[in-house]
């Protein structure tokens, strides 16, 4: 296609522009010359050939370029020529567009992207002529966006296109900035200024490419081709045969050469106009010839970070590069493990003056090299997470990518073993132990949200790959320890390493992951006690958002766990804040609100990959069901006028509102989603029809997401029985004088014993005005005097007065020295329901992650976790003291 295209180009070429002319001429030239070439090469060797030729670019650069642009028939190759034509020969606009259309049929995603970019650049050129900077500005923006996409897909030609546009714009700006600027209207000049700045920025970013382009546009194009090949990951192996064979001889003679190269790489690192790809290639080449472990380690320690640099601007690393980095790190581990008695890579090693000097051996004969293996692994892990954040979770691509998690987990475990090897056990708490802690934290983060079976499976596969190795922290999985709670122990021991760290972030994260894990695996009390003892809720709102998200996740998981365990009250309290929040997605780090168009990159990075999400619908469903069980009897109670206790639960509001909304609807169809099921059930329960309610609730499909859904349904049914009975009594007590327990037991399909105890409780707590008659086995309702409105108000007033007095007392006691006794008592009563309070304060703090400052305060040390329950009380006391 490009051949065809090129010819049309040259035919219709009207431009006087040199660049275009030269390229088109060359293309023609080549068409004959190159065909010979092509015959010699088998098609699959093409790419390699290209590269090897490019390596000697000084000698016959132009040919190789031509060869490339013509030999590759795919869309991207077509890019430059098309672009040239477009940008410099505008008269052909229409023709090219028609071509565009015909081509559309076969366009791949890459093509499409390139076309789009081309359109952008066209538009920019056009507006440049018109001097309409506003338009340029918008087009440039689109182009930049497309560029980043192109970079992800390894489209070098996209970059090339971009550079040209940028260079062109720079020229135009230089032209216009002088006299012409005055002519522009306000809007235009404003746009002009923004563009000026943006172009400056871009030029800085791609300084090297732009310079190259300016020096020699042709060579520049070639350069790009090479970059592209590298990115495609084909640059490995035989690609460098020509060059390397030359160098091999050189290098084997003189190993100094290795460090020569390394030194140049180090010197150029971080500088602007350096071609990273070239460096990667040369380092890779070195790897294939070097055998000395020290040299190998040095090269790997250089190569891997450079590979990461390649994608510092892109949203995430391409899969190929990811894999090659993975292989590099694995290879590095292999070398390190083989030579663990001679070489070790340590973060706190003494740096040598020159990289080629081997570090001096310490007393054990071990040479310590400066470097950080854990951070390499961490970075690779981050890249995987980043890509998972971007990929659509409902595609197979996501699943494919997710499989790499196993790989990274292997690597993390391997890294942990290596850290255990190089760090003595007594150092775990110290500075050196931090490396280990980082790796261990990664490991914890990879397993805490998984069910036990999955963890065990992952452990099995990992340890199978690491045969003959043993961890000091926790024994490897085998049939023996599998019988016990392997995963519990694993998490416990991993977290206990983290708890000893002096950095509070490790401790906090480990704590929350630990809590999440236990909550997820139905150990409510354990998780709750840990939650309360950690006292995280007092400091969490000053932590960074990621930690807050983790906090919320743990909280929600705890709520779901309470629900599964039948602790409806706890569950409702725990879930309330998040479930009723409009921003539940955001609070759990599972997405941002739609209205927030401008979300920063940081915001995006904070989001969790899809496989870690908590099902929001399930969350809502649990919360509503819990609310139903609590609120329906309460409504029945408060609707009754005789009741003097008017409860106004703030928690009831959301459920009440939902129920009222449901009532207002004219047409109530059969329930479709979970929420409607619950609303219908609530209505049924209000009528005393508990069977229907329980059928409705149990028919909700989402319960199946819980592993023990059958048990859950049985639990819910029995809860509904009791609450149904209570509702029934509240609602209909005014119509009865005597009600036989027999009958109630029949209606609610439960034992008389149970009815007795439920009714007794209601009587004892003065919820209903009644008494039991043992002789006739029935409830006698004592028909109290009807309370008039005035009397009711009088009672309320008395209540309020009492509350007021109480509050006054509290205030007086709080500020007074002599009354510390009463103060003490006050805090007694406060603390007796300490757990409840704490839980409530949990929610307080979970409220509004966004409200908390995003940065800073990370260095605030929380109470020591090991301190157990005492911590908080100390604090409370200190507060009391300071008040005095």
């Amino acid at each position: 296609m490009s051949r065809f295209f090129a010819s049309t180009l040259s035919d219709s070429d009207l431009s006087s522009d040199e660049e275009l002319l030269s390229s088109s001429e060359e293309e023609e030239l080549l068409s004959s010359e190159e065909e010979e070439n092509q015959k010699e090469l088998s098609s699959d060797e093409e790419g390699k050939q290209e590269e090897s030729e490019e390596d000697e670019s000084d000698i016959f650069g132009s040919e190789s370029e031509e060869e490339e642009s013509s030999s590759d028939d795919e869309g991207p190759r077509r890019g430059p020529s098309y672009f040239l034509k477009k940008s410099f020969a505008k008269s052909d606009d229409e023709e090219s567009e028609s071509e565009d259309e015909t081509r559309k049929v076969v366009k791949s995603a890459k093509d499409k992207l390139l076309d789009e970019m081309k359109n952008n650049s066209d538009a920019i050129e056009l507006s440049k002529k018109k001097n309409s900077w506003v338009q340029i500005s918008s087009e440039l923006e689109k182009l930049t966006k497309n560029l980043s996409k192109a970079q992800q897909q390894n489209l070098g030609s996209g970059l090339k296109l971009f550079i040209k546009v940028i260079a062109g714009l720079e020229d135009a700006i230089a032209e216009n900035s002088g006299s012409n600027k005055k002519k522009m209207d306000a809007l235009n000049s404003k746009a002009f200024n923004t563009i000026k700045q943006r172009v400056k920025k871009h030029i800085k970013e791609f300084q090297k490419n732009v310079d190259l382009y300016r020096q020699d546009p042709e060579a520049f194009e070639k350069e790009d081709e090479q970059a592209e090949n590298d990115l495609d990951g084909t640059a490995l192996n035989d690609a460098t045969v020509n060059k390397s064979s030359q160098k091999t001889t050189k290098l084997s003679e003189q190993s100094e050469g290795v460090f020569q190269t390394l030194r140049t790489v180090i010197e150029s690192r971080g500088k602007k106009n350096v071609d990273i790809n070239e460096q990667v290639a040369s380092l890779e080449m070195l790897l294939s010839v070097v055998v000395d472990p020290f040299e190998l380690i040095s090269i790997y320690l250089m190569l891997i970070p450079i590979r990461f640099d390649l994608f510092s601007n892109a949203a995430y690393m391409s899969v190929e590069t990811w894999n090659s980095v993975f292989q590099d790190i694995s290879a590095l581990f292999k070398i390190l493990e083989e030579n663990s008695n001679t070489y070790r890579v340590l973060e706190n090693a003494v740096p040598t003056d020159d990289i080629e000097i081997q570090p001096e051996s310490n007393k054990d004969g071990i040479k310590e090299i400066l470097g950080s293996i854990p951070s390499l692994v961490e970075r690779l892990d981050d890249e995987l997470t980043k890509s998972l954040q971007v990929i659509d979770p409902h595609t197979t691509e996501y699943v494919e990518r997710l499989k790499d998690e196993g790989k990274i987990y292997d690597l993390i475990v391997r890294c942990q073993l290596y850290c255990e090897l190089i760090i003595p056990k007594e150092e775990y708490k110290g500075v050196a132990g931090e490396q280990l802690a980082r790796v261990v934290l990664r490991r914890v983060e990879h397993i805490y949200y998984k069910p036990v079976q999955l963890i065990i499976l992952a452990e099995k596969t990992t340890w199978a790959k690491l045969q003959g190795r043993e961890s000091k922290i926790y024994p490897k999985i085998n049939d023996l320890n599998l019988k016990g709670n392997y995963s519990d122990g694993l998490l416990d021991s991993l977290c206990s390493i983290l708890y000893t760290q002096s950095n509070s972030i490790f401790r906090k994260k480990a704590m929350l992951c630990h809590i999440y894990y236990y909550a997820f695996n139905d150990k409510f009390y354990r998780a709750r006690d840990m939650f309360l003892m950690s006292h995280l809720q007092s400091t969490i709102h000053t932590s960074d958002p990621q930690l807050q998200v983790l906090f919320n996740r743990a909280l929600v998981q705890l709520g779901l766990c309470a629900f599964r365990s039948g602790l409806i009250n706890d569950s409702q309290q725990l879930l309330q804040e998040i479930a009723t929040s409009q921003r539940s997605k955001e609070l759990l780090g599972q997405g941002t609100q739609r209205y927030q168009q401008q979300q920063s990159l940081v915001d995006k990075q904070r989001l969790l990959p899809f496989h870690m999400h908590i099902n929001l619908e399930l969350l809502e469903c649990c919360f509503l069901t819990a609310s139903l069980l609590i609120e329906v009897p309460t409504f029945a109670k408060t609707n009754d006028l005789n009741s003097t206790k008017q409860h106004t639960y703030s928690s009831a509001k959301s459920f009440k509102r939902a129920l009222e909304y449901f009532d207002r609807q004219f047409f109530q169809g059969p329930p479709e989603n979970a929420k409607e099921h619950i609303m219908h059930a609530a209505k049924a329960l209000q009528k005393g029809d508990w069977i229907k309610a329980s059928e409705l609730i149990n028919s909700i499909k989402i319960w199946d997401l819980f592993s023990k859904s059958d048990e859950l349904k049985i639990m819910l049914k029995s809860k509904l029985q009791v609450e149904g009975l209570r509702t029934y009594l509240f609602t209909f007590k005014n119509f009865y004088e005597k009600l036989s327990i027999d009958k109630l037991a029949n209606v609610f399909q439960t034992s008389e014993q149970k009815v007795n105890s439920v009714v007794s409780k209601m009587i004892f707590e003065e919820e209903i005005n009644a008494a039991l008659d043992q002789k006739t086995n029935s409830i006698i309702f004592i028909q109290g005097v009807e309370v008039s409105k005035l009397q009711e108000l009088a009672l309320q007033l008395a209540d309020r007065a009492g509350q007021l007095a109480e509050r006054n007392e509290r205030i007086a006691a709080g500020g007074h020295q002599g009354s510390s006794q009463s103060n003490q008592q006050q805090s007694n009563s406060n603390n007796s329901n300490n757990n409840n309070n704490n839980q409530q304060s949990n929610q307080h703090n979970s409220y509004g992650v966004k409200l908390a400052p995003v940065t800073g305060a990370l260095d605030s040390t929380p109470g020591k976790i090991s301190g157990g329950a005492l911590n908080g009380f100390d604090k409370r006391q200190r507060k009391n003291q300071s008040r005095k």
């Binding site: 009390y525 409780k761 008494a771 043992q774 008395a798 007074h816 007694n828 009563s829 005492l870």
Partner: protein, 441 residues
């Protein structure tokens, strides 16, 4: 205790099942454990008990006692050499320490010295050092000797020595240890008043000292909780004091966090103190708090006493409550601490059941009630009559029908309002007074 009938097999198992010794012992001192172990002879074999107490005390310096034990365990056998060695060592140490401290003690017992000692410890130190060359070292010898005497089983001497030390020493840590030592000595001497005094001092020390490590503070509190069981269950007002201490916020949370089994004693104490002040707000509040704590901790700790409370006040299951009552009967007999209040505890538990029962029912079958109280019909009738008399319950016994008829009064609205507003003006005045006082200050 002695006239009690031997336990049946069933009861024995129950007692063993709920035996707390193994949980409590880690929190006690060796010497304090001894009486606890001795009391276990009801449940366990005598030989085991002897062996246990031998193992327990062989580390101490009570050589003579250990010898006796050894002989009962291994009649006719020679004493092991290390025991004889120890005997020698102890006597030589005793002489050494005695001679070392003699001088100091003599000086301290002089009248003019005692007159010159003041509250200020630093002043005392200087004074003694200047005039009598009693350095800090000498004072620390007192501590050492005290500890030695305690280990030897001479608790009177130990207590005195430690007391002297406490007066003079400025070393905080040793002071605390000395206080602990004194408390232990007093407990073993059954001198409850002194023990309570020491306990109070310890509480102040533990609560006021801002412990750098919260964990240490937790440990100290758990020790206080366990040790305090001795004096509290043996003094007249002890149970009330126990409730005060254990319901204070920090101790309650310590119990919940570190030693939930203490709930048994808390429940027992609350129940036992219920009769004399069951109407008071204090009791109602304690009961409420207790129920809350018990229900919170039921996943961690359960025994007949806590289950009794649970079945009565949370589940209103009278049958279950009655079952638990039966178990409590066994438990209070065998428990070292509860033994003292067994009768009171049982009596009050019965009362609590009947109270709840009466409040819920309007017509009660006398037979059933008697059954649920673990009494015969005759006894039950008598008991109810007493109850009505004592507490002025609004109830009548209908003998011919065999029922009790409860008269539930509906509180009229007026009464309710009066009830609610009764204390208001008094309370407000108090606040006013205290505020004014504060201003004056």
């Amino acid at each position: 205790m002695s006239e009690m009938a031997p336990l049946t097999q069933e009861e024995l198992e129950l007692a063993r099942q709920y035996d707390l010794s193994s949980k409590i012992i880690p929190f006690l001192d060796r010497h304090l454990i001894y009486p606890l172990i001795e009391s276990l002879d009801l449940i366990y074999d005598e030989k085991i008990i002897n062996q246990l107490s031998y193992d327990l005390l062989k580390e101490t310096n009570m050589v003579k006692f250990v010898k006796d034990k050894y002989q009962t365990l291994n009649p006719g056998k020679e004493f092991p050499p290390e025991l004889l060695e120890k005997e020698k060592f102890v006597s030589s140490e005793l002489i050494r320490l005695d001679s070392e401290t003699k001088n100091t003690l003599n000086i301290l017992s002089r009248r003019e010295v005692q007159d010159n000692l003041k509250q200020d410890k630093n002043y005392n130190k200087e004074y003694l050092e200047k005039n009598f060359q009693i350095t800090e070292e000498k004072i620390n010898e007192l501590y050492e000797f005290g500890q030695f005497q305690y280990n030897r089983g001479d608790y009177v001497m130990a207590s005195d020595l430690l007391n002297n030390f406490k007066v003079l020493s400025t070393n905080n840590d040793l002071n605390i240890s000395a206080t602990w030592g004194r408390l232990a000595s007093e407990i073993i001497r059954l001198d409850w008043d002194n023990a309570l005094q020491e306990l109070g001092k310890l509480r102040d020390l533990v609560d006021s000292r801002s412990f750098s490590d919260p964990l240490t503070q937790l440990h100290h509190r758990t020790w206080i909780i366990h040790w305090s069981l001795f004096p509290f269950f043996n003094t007249l007002n002890g149970l009330d004091q126990l409730c005060d201490l254990f319901f204070s916020s920090s101790y309650l949370s310590t119990i919940q966090a570190a030693c939930p089994w203490i709930l048994r004693y808390l429940v027992a104490a609350v129940i036992s103190t219920s009769l004399k002040n069951h109407q008071s707000n204090v009791f109602q509040k304690r009961l409420k708090d207790l129920i809350k704590v018990v229900s919170q901790e039921q996943y961690e700790y359960n025994d007949p006493l806590t289950m009794f409370l649970k079945s009565l006040y949370l589940e209103f299951d009278f049958v279950e409550a009655q079952n638990n009552l039966k178990k409590i009967e066994v438990l209070v007999k065998t428990d070292f601490f509860l033994n003292n209040i067994a009768e009171k505890c049982l009596e009050n538990s019965r009362y609590l059941i009947s109270e709840v029962y009466c409040r819920v029912h309007s017509k009660i079958d006398l037979l059933q009630l008697s059954e649920s109280l673990n009494l015969s019909k005759e006894q039950g009738e008598k008991w109810i009559a007493n109850l009505i008399k004592e507490t002025k319950l609004d109830a009548k016994i209908n003998e011919s029908e065999g029922t009790i008829i409860m008269n539930h009064q509906v509180n009229s609205v007026y009464q309710q309002v009066i009830e609610k507003t009764k204390g208001l003006s008094f309370r407000s005045n108090q606040i006013l007074m205290s505020t004014l006082q504060k201003q004056e200050n």
